[in-house]
């Protein structure tokens, strides 16, 4: 099938990236996060909130932000936004500044900011207030703070985006799906510039208890920093983390006209659904395979163009293997020698923020010619027939046509794959 794909530029508008922003367990912005990732540092740490002991939670650690949002935002801003929207705003401002605060008509500027869970901090704390103090004490901004589109609305207001503000919810595929949707807004002519990404703030007692009840979380409470170990034979679940990654997407024509520095290209995106099980991945990874093929097809690329994969690889026993199968069927023999990184080994799992953060990692990898490491793998699962980048960053080719693939999958059977080209080469 892919052999029949013409190796030419797609007829549609090229979508470039001109800004990146993030706040993560590894750092308060993209440079510090990337530096920590290349150094192989873990962002997992013991949780200090009182509820951990009070409620006897089975998991007592997580990937909390390296720089608390309340240290960055003034109180009058932070108190009006759920933490998930706060993180998106911090990342969005960094991305917008790096893009040079492009001058664009509001009606040509869009926002797509996704979250997997939405304003759950606000929902839970408002319910606590209701129970403890009664309905009169429930604040009037509770609804706009808890709604899952709150972050998208806040960024639209911040940057004056009037072409549409969207919040695709696809669990842990949300951040990647937001970038795919944003690229589509540009390709279909709805916008010239789109601020796109994902965010999550769900390190709270209820989500921890609920994910633990699914046996989705690692229970390595004694050694948080080694808990996330994708592809290791002893992996026992993911590490719940928080944060946001946001990019500024722009039509190539718009970026060129204003002389913007191009950081990379969203060459293609593929989105599919499994229709298999509400939480478990299709064991053969068929939907994931189709997503990767669709991304490559839109990029006008071949499997052999892929030099790097930032895998979804959350460190769950079942999920990691389903993705390995999908990668093999999507890329075939071309997968051999491709540098595969599982950066959740360091960041933990940002849920709705994961896909967009990992897209940023792909852009940085192509910019610097370095695939970030996968840490904590002491014994590679023999079923993982991938060339995993272990412990140290690895040089990758960044020539013309070189692509990175970014996979994100979510409960509900959502699959999103992004084909990303670096600043010097695009599949087009």
């Amino acid at each position: 099938m892919s052999e029949q794909t013409p190796r030419s530029a797609p007829a549609s508008t090229a979508v470039v990236v001109t800004g990146m922003g993030a706040t993560t367990p590894l750092g308060g912005d993209v440079p510090s996060t990337w530096e920590a990732a290349l150094a192989g540092r873990s962002g997992a740490r013991p949780l200090t909130m009182p509820f951990v002991e009070e409620l006897g939670l089975p998991v007592t650690f997580g990937g909390t932000l390296a720089v608390p949002a309340t240290d960055v935002l003034p109180k009058h801003e932070s108190k009006k936004l759920d933490p998930s929207a706060q993180y998106a705003l911090i990342a969005g401002r960094e991305a917008w500044a790096q893009a040079g605060a492009p001058e664009v008509e509001g009606e040509r500027l869009g926002v797509v900011v996704a979250t997997g869970i939405g304003g759950v901090t606000t929902l839970i704390s408002a319910y606590d207030v209701l129970r403890e103090k009664g309905p009169r004490r429930v604040l009037p901004l509770t609804v706009p703070m808890l709604m899952p589109n709150g972050a998208a609305g806040a960024l639209a207001i911040e940057f004056g985006a009037q072409a549409g503000a969207h919040s695709p919810a696809s669990a842990c595929a949300s951040g990647a799906e937001a970038i795919a949707y944003g690229a589509e807004m540009i390709r279909t002519g709805r916008a010239d510039v789109v601020i796109a990404g994902g965010t999550e703030a769900a390190i709270l007692a209820l989500p921890i208890a609920a994910f633990a009840s699914m046996h989705a979380l690692s229970l390595r409470n004694d050694t948080p920093e080694t808990a996330s170990r994708p592809y290791d034979v002893t992996r026992d679940g993911f590490v719940l983390a928080e944060g946001a990654g946001v990019v500024v997407l722009e039509s190539e024509a718009h970026a060129t006209a204003r002389g913007a520095r191009v950081l990379g290209t969203i060459a293609g995106a593929g989105i599919t659904s499994d229709a298999h099980h509400i939480a478990a991945p299709d064991p053969a990874g068929l939907g994931a395979t189709r997503a990767m093929r669709a991304a490559l097809q839109q990029a006008g690329a071949q499997p052999s163009d892929v030099v790097h994969v930032n895998a979804h690889a959350t460190s769950t026993p079942v999920g990691d293997l389903a993705e390995v199968a999908a990668l093999r069927s999507a890329l075939g023999g071309a997968l051999d020698g491709v540098a595969v990184s599982a950066t959740k080994s360091m960041t933990g799992h940002l849920l709705g923020g994961a896909g967009s953060l990992e897209a940023i990692f792909c852009l940085k990898a192509l910019e610097e010619g370095l695939a970030p490491p996968t840490i904590n793998v002491t014994e590679l699962d023999p079923q993982v027939d991938l060339d995993v980048v272990l412990d140290e960053p690895r040089k990758i080719s960044t020539g013309s046509g070189a692509l990175a693939l970014n996979n994100s999958f979510g409960f509900g059977g959502h699959n999103a794959a992004l084909a990303i080209a670096g600043p010097t080469g695009s599949a087009a």
């Binding site: 109180k75 009058h76 009169r136 004490r137 604040l139 009037p140």
Partner: protein, 82 residues
């Protein structure tokens, strides 16, 4: 126990600052919350909810909608604290 007018004014100024980021000194007795300080109705409701807690009073909706200026609020709280 009733607080002094200045104590209440300071407290209101603090709440307005936390809610909107406006400097505390801009919250003066004769300023209107909506016309002068540009505070929208949702933020105003938040300020009233916080004021009830801070000053230990109850400000029913039918009364709070008539509180136009900072002086109105200060006087209301002082009277309610009795």
């Amino acid at each position: 126990m009733a607080q002094s007018e200045n104590e209440i004014l300071d407290g209101i100024a603090e709440l307005v600052n936390e809610e909107t980021g406006l400097p505390k000194e801009s919250v003066e007795m004769d300023k209107s919350f909506t016309d002068d300080l540009d505070i929208d109705s949702l933020s105003m409701t938040s300020i009233v909810v916080h004021a009830e807690e801070k000053f230990g009073v109850t400000i029913p909706d039918e009364d709070s909608k008539n509180l136009r200026t900072v002086r109105d609020v200060v006087a209301y709280i002082q009277q309610a604290q009795g």
